[in-house]
């Protein structure tokens, strides 16, 4: 990428992306490598997901990336039979929140997981993949 070109990689995220430029666009580079990453403040060690460029706790902007690994617990989920504009071809799909203890991660349940196997508290793990329209994303599978 040319030096003065705007880093617009975030436009690659999800079925429909509503933004292209953030200061955590390396998130997209990590997804391309198959890694789901959050950020951690180097000053106070607070971990963030979604990743952020700044720490509100100590006002620092010196962050390091860490991988969202291991298992989390399903906090809740919902299967959409009706979708907003841009997503109607994908229904039904399931959105979910997974609690990793230090942080939580919002995303979709992988299409391969039948809804009948899900309940609040189910152990889940995140896996990087592609949306039906071939764009970068991540989804939860049973751990």
């Amino acid at each position: 990428m040319a030096k003065n070109e705007l880093d617009a990689r975030f436009a690659e995220f999800g079925t429909v992306s509503f933004a292209s430029v953030t200061q955590v666009n390396d998130f997209i580079g990590y997804l391309e490598e198959g890694k789901l990453m959050g950020t951690r403040c180097k000053t106070c060690a607070k971990s963030f997901f979604p990743p952020r460029a700044h720490c509100y706790q100590c006002l620092a902007g010196d962050m390091e990336w860490f991988e969202i690994a291991g298992k989390g617990e399903l906090v809740s989920y919902s299967t959409l039979q009706y979708a907003p504009a841009g997503f109607t071809e994908e229904v039904p799909y399931t959105i979910a929140l997974v609690d990793y203890g230090e942080y939580k991660v919002f995303g979709r349940i992988d299409k391969s997981v039948p809804e009948t196997e899900l309940s609040v508290g189910t152990k889940m793990k995140a896996a990087v993949g592609r949306t039906p329209n071939g764009r970068l994303t991540y989804a939860f599978k049973k751990a």
């Binding site: 989920y77 039979q81 009706y82 979708a83 929140l97």
Partner: protein
């Protein structure tokens, strides 16, 4: 600091499709509020216009509306906190009056949603959540509230039938409200028929019957300082407590999904300011954009202990004859939810109750009424307590 009163209230009918522009729609509630307050245009010192942007072609609607209402050269301000914009406008009006800057301030709320398809509307509402980290997954308001519903069911044993009971209550009062979009009765038997449209899935576990409808509508509330409130109005209703709070936009930032933290915080502020407890509230309007939202509000506002919201609806305590009547104007579930107009409509209902002018739905001699108005999925929360002297 003197008291701040409400001296006039108005709303348009909430309808599927308003056959006109936003200025004409706003005029309908403006006219009712002006006649209610029996004041003239020059008595209004400032207006606050509340709506959620992106539904209109008109940029910066406040100025256009001020002109159409004949309210130049008075200042006008635009306020936006998604679905709670109207009660945010009330808080700002309170502040302008309490500070002594203005004596009489008008809060106008409106929304025309019918110019968009339902899917387009869901997309815009979805963008009221986190556009970086949530919207790319295809989120929408019913799905977020559905996640709250599932968490509540898992923790407390709340059932789909409990949610249906909330809609049945709304459907008991909707037919009595000439301004409501949905005026047909709703019965529990309809929810037990899988073929009923009420049961068609939207975002599991929420069904069509659990969701309020988009609507076009406007509302208008006129606020005045104590001297002018007493001079203009025979029955001023006083703003006793007014609390506001925020919570993380992203679900990942929330400690629990079984309630809304912004409600708890805003309610605490409002109760403290008014010097009352939840047991003192005689009538309430809560933000029932979805059935689960009303059940969570019972708990977050302290009408029921956590997990016991379902018991309140099962025992019909939130009906007109119950210990704490809630949304007996039909609520958003019957009235429809024209985003910017909703808060003002809730305020109007409580003002009419406190004046003893609520007609068929009047509760007996209420002293305190509460309005709970939420923006986004609990991103913004306003709780307002009104009272008579």
């Amino acid at each position: 600091m003197g008291k701040v009163g409400i001296i006039g209230v108005g709303q348009s009918a909430f309808v599927r499709t308003y056959p006109g522009s936003i200025r004409e729609l706003v005029f309908e509630s403006f006219r009712e509020a002006m006649k209610d307050a029996r004041i003239g245009r020059t008595d209004i010192d400032a207006t606050i216009v509340c709506s959620a942007p992106e539904y209109d072609r008109q940029r910066s609607p406040a100025g256009v509306i001020a002109e159409y209402l004949g309210l130049n050269p008075q200042p006008t301000f635009y306020a936006e906190t998604l679905c709670s914009s109207g009660s945010t406008g009330l808080k700002l009006a309170y502040s302008l009056v309490a500070s002594g800057l203005h004596d009489v301030v008008m809060v106008i709320g409106f929304q025309i949603m019918s110019q968009l398809t339902s899917a387009e509307s869901q997309e815009r509402m979805g963008r009221g959540a986190d556009i970086l980290w949530e919207s790319p997954f295809g989120t929408m308001m019913p799905a977020y509230y559905a996640m709250h519903a599932r968490a509540h069911m898992a923790k407390f044993g709340t059932t789909l039938e409990d949610l249906a009971l909330v809609r049945v209550k709304a459907g008991t009062y909707g037919p009595l409200n000439p301004n409501a979009v949905y005026r047909k009765p709703v019965t529990i038997e309809q929810f037990q028929d899988p073929g009923s449209f009420l049961c068609s899935p939207v975002a599991a576990p929420l069904r069509t019957g659990d969701c309020c409808a988009n609507a076009d509508g406007s509302s208008c509330v006129i606020v005045a300082c104590e001297d002018k409130a007493r001079a203009f109005s025979k029955k001023p209703v006083w703003i006793k407590g007014i609390g506001s709070a925020t919570a993380p936009v992203n679900m990942a930032g929330r400690d629990r999904l079984t309630g809304l933290a912004a409600t708890v915080e805003a309610a605490g502020q409002a109760y403290r300011m008014a010097g009352i407890t939840p047991a003192d509230v005689d009538v309430a309007e809560v933000h029932d954009c979805f059935t689960i939202a009303e059940l969570m509000a019972y708990e977050d506002l302290g009408f029921a202990a956590p997990g016991e919201g379902k018991d309140l609806i099962r025992s019909r305590e939130t009906y007109r004859e119950g210990s704490i009547p809630v949304n007996i104007d039909g609520g958003l579930l019957s009235k429809g939810h024209p985003i910017g107009a909703t808060g003002g409509s809730q305020i109007r209902t409580v003002v009419l109750q406190l004046r003893g002018e609520a007609g068929q739905i009047q509760v007996k001699d209420p002293a305190f009424g509460l309005i709970h108005n939420i923006g986004g999925v609990g991103l913004y929360g306003n709780v307002t307590i009104l009272g008579v002297d």
